[in-house]
Assembly symmetry: C2
Homo-oligomer: 156 residues x 2
């Protein structure tokens, strides 16, 4: 089911959700993005954001964890090691942070495969383009990007 050939097009897959809390916003930002509107709820009130917001790199990074968990879960369901476990990503496109993410916001991450392409330099692989979104339960869009991934083709 998970070889390149089997990836369904235009089907929305829910990866999972992640809740941004005051605590994990501070923990991430202290280490990687130490700006007052992320690390200091009080100082954040006096910035352009008028309050604490999550680092955009935090909202982006949450995706890969959910993607890995999703793949692990599918492996268990399918009863076999997924062939695309060791696939690598050639990159991301059009990363957009649409709205600030406030503490106690839960984002639901999903992706939809929008294109499947040959990868001539490594013919045993195929490229998938995935439109990735993170939204609150009411459908408001906070983050979107396009993920490119190389998946193994079914052996002949």
């Amino acid at each position: 089911m998970f070889w390149f050939e089997d990836v369904p097009m235009n089907e929305r897959v829910i990866l999972g959700e992640y809740t941004f809390t005051q605590e994990n916003i501070i923990a991430f930002a202290t280490k990687f993005d130490p700006q007052p509107f992320h690390t200091d709820p009080e100082a954040a009130k006096h910035t352009a954001f008028k309050g604490q917001v999550a680092s955009g790199w935090h909202t982006l990074t949450a995706w890969i964890k959910l993607m890995i968990e999703y793949r692990e879960k599918m492996t268990h369901i399918l009863g076999e090691d997924m062939p695309n476990r060791s696939a690598v990503s050639p990159g991301l496109r059009q990363v957009r942070w649409h709205l600030p993410v406030r503490p106690n916001t839960t984002l639901i991450y999903d992706f939809t495969t929008t294109a499947k392409k040959d990868w001539p330099s490594r013919p045993q692989l195929g490229l998938v383009e995935r439109a990735c979104d993170a939204r609150t339960a009411d459908g408001t869009l906070y983050l979107s990007f396009i993920n490119l991934a190389l998946l193994k083709r079914r052996p002949e």
Copy 2:
């Protein structure tokens, strides 16, 4: 010097460097990208990477820390709060991981402003496009992306 109007075009700025070690590769990946080729040097030998590599999200995230440190340093040099401290980023484009980053690799991060544009919905801001690279000292390119940032314009 750092209002939108003053940002120099096509001038390469060195942000700083970051060394990926076995320890910080494991620490980041355990938390955010728990795949064996990142978290387990021994298991990594039996994956497509033939050894441990840094998470791409780790190499990407290292940039924002260096950008913040650079802005802090410039603030000290200029003796004033930089007007673009609270600038927000509308996004990233064309994030590409060109080569696996092995333990004990030091990447030098730089950026070059390649475009400056009006931002009609918020006329007090201007958009800069920055071509961002991370290379080893011999010039080999490991990571590249385009960062979009909104900077304050000089008050009239």
